[in-house]
Symmetry: C2
Subunit: 404 residues, 2 copies
């Protein structure tokens, strides 16, 4: 990327651990190398780029840089999701920029789209596929009907998943990114930890067979939506059924897609490579240029108040049971769902499975997430389960459906 370096910017210092082992000869000899972060806070530095990753020590270093009157560009999603609120206030106090386009959706300039391009609209929903690793695995399972752990192993071999993929699979990566998007879209402090997250490795190849019968596929969907109640947001991350005609269904491999719904502008979508060195570098460099060119620091970026994240909402559901087959199971399920005033929409059963471990699917009319939680809890008392039921909301273009 060095060839893109714009005239407005001059590299002054590189800070890294064990910096003596990392020197390269293609960097201008006038650039200082240091393993002491304080060397980045000198008078000759106007702007600090933080690319360490992780909350500590990055969060502390970003704060120090802002207090020293430097602007900061970062790709650090965990810091912005968890401490962005306080750091943005710090930046506003010192009249400096804090920019983080690379923290969400890699090279897709969606942070800027929300802050500026759609500044004239009132956004009501942010939904997206924010984790390329999960999307690689799920779109591979969709295409080849392989098992989750086989698709994961391939993703690891190809470098699309880390050796410890728990941040991706448990949804914490997407949760942090959703918190950042929701913070800027709704101009509110959205605590990332309050966003419910469901793990994606409950999905089996057979779920794609049933999903297809329903005109759907399965994706890890992150979604946050305004409610009619002021100061309350619905938000969640987890595997969901997605209708095949939704833009979310068409996201392949490790791509990301963000869908924004505006009260006036309708739905806009932003897609592209969500990770990787070069797309991330494009986002960081675009932020650097914005600071160098004196770009705006939108008022909306310093949210006024903390928002409450509600886990309660209404959605249609897909529930896969894996049972030791015997008479009366459907009757038992029907009775429990009926007791919670949940209507069964359809029952789907593929042939070809052993009677001792037979998967079948019950689809449910829209119901509240608390009702489905209680019903599934009641169902766990039956002894016919071969494995725990898999409960997936059905994502709807019209309204929210991402939490269980």
């Amino acid at each position: 990327m060095q060839e893109l370096a714009p005239d407005e910017l001059e590299l002054a210092v590189i800070v890294n651990r064990s910096v003596h082992r990392k020197r390269v000869d293609w960097i201008d000899s006038a650039v200082r190398w240091s393993d002491d972060y304080r060397d980045a806070l000198g008078d000759d530095v106007d702007l600090v780029v933080e690319l360490i990753g992780g909350r500590s020590p990055a969060e502390d270093w970003i704060g120090q840089a802002l207090r020293a009157g430097k602007s900061v560009v970062t790709a650090n999603k965990q810091v912005i999701a968890h401490a962005g609120h306080a750091l943005l206030e710090e930046a506003a106090r010192s009249g400096q920029h804090l920019r983080f386009e690379a923290a969400v959706a890699g090279g897709v300039p969606v942070v800027r789209a929300i802050e500026q391009g759609l500044a004239g609209d009132t956004l009501t929903r942010v939904a997206g596929i924010l984790n390329g690793t999960c999307n690689y695995i799920l779109s591979r399972m969709e295409r080849e009907r392989v098992a989750f752990h086989d698709a994961l192993a391939d993703a690891q071999a190809l470098g699309f998943a880390e050796a410890d993929p728990s941040q991706d699979i448990e949804g914490f990566d997407a949760q942090a990114k959703l918190a950042i998007l929701a913070q800027i879209a709704f101009a509110a402090h959205v605590p990332a930890g309050a966003i419910e997250s469901r793990r994606v490795d409950v999905i089996d190849a057979v779920d794609f067979v049933y999903a297809e019968q329903m005109g759907c596929t399965i994706r890890q969907v992150a979604c946050a939506e305004r409610t009619s109640q002021r100061g309350v947001l619905k938000a969640g991350v987890g595997p969901s059924l997605v209708p095949l005609d939704s833009p979310l269904a068409r996201v392949r491999g490790s791509e990301n897609l963000v869908m924004l719904h505006g009260r006036f502008g309708g739905e806009t979508t932003f897609g592209g490579l969500g990770a990787g060195g070069e797309p991330t570098a494009v986002a960081v460099l675009s932020d650097l240029l914005a600071v160098a060119r004196g770009g705006e620091r939108p008022a909306t970026r310093t949210p006024a108040s903390q928002i409450e994240v509600s886990p309660d909402f209404t959605s249609a559901y897909y529930v896969r049971f894996t049972v030791a087959d015997r008479p009366g199971i459907i009757a038992a399920l029907s009775a429990v769902f009926g007791r919670h005033e949940i209507n069964i929409d359809a029952i789907l059963q593929q042939p070809g499975f052993p009677a001792g471990r037979r998967p079948f699917v019950v689809t449910l009319d829209p119901c509240s997430s608390s009702a489905i939680r209680q019903a599934v809890n009641d169902l766990s008392e039956f002894d016919f389960h071969g494995e725990p039921p898999v409960v997936l909301p059905v994502f709807s273009a019209a309204s929210m459906g991402v939490l269980a």
Copy 2:
């Protein structure tokens, strides 16, 4: 939209023809109404919003406003496509903003994405569906296999097409929008009139049958691409075969989609409503906010040099012949294509048409646009044609394919 009016902005003057008939009581009584444009150039005005449409008198008025030291926000694609270069220079001279997010792709903030969000990349290609009317017609034909003129009549009845749809159908609307996108993506003065444009009403329902056999659909594609030759761009607008797995194939109804290819960031997509009062208002208001908040005036917006637009490029082709059937036609075609060193990939013929007017399709391996033009010209000398051949390039994800 009045409820969105931000504190930073105060409406001073409304200029309109026959303004006395257009006054409304929900506008603050302090606002002046006038039918004289000079009233918008007073000392109490910092910024002029131009929403007249058409080149004259809008172009002159925008120039006057800039020279009077006002910033200008416009939705006028014709003015920006044809005179944007000179007007941006005017704006740079007077240190004012000239913003036009609404001129391309309505509520989709793609102008800003190119100027700022992807400022750190080197863009190599801009492709998109920029005309909602054509896309409404073609996606309707795709779904219902109706005739072009029936789909057009419906579009007119529903307000998606104007009484005189020639700007849409002949491609001049998309041509103007592509010129604007290319100007900012490649930082060059791209003369709109030099972009070749092919009419879309040659498409028949049967083309969708053949396209589907080839794993494709048909869209009006606008595309501009850098060449290896400095200062030379390939660009064109017209109906093209689009593989079903391309994001362009999935654009439905009157939506727009822009795909940007960057050397480092890969492909990013931006989709949404390309027209309509409310999406346009969102784009205009976002521009107003950017000016009010002192947003950057990117250096790239004042292109240095005029670029040459080349009509020559390489693409696979789809050619539909409609013939009075008789022996020897295929042999005759093969001989002509062979003479121009064009390889036939496949010949497709659907049953069920009368022998006097039988459509069949020849698909061709990638060849130069000049070779195909000459070959089709040679073929016109045969007397078996029931109607002129329909020649469509096949859009490729990897390289350009939009001109015939």
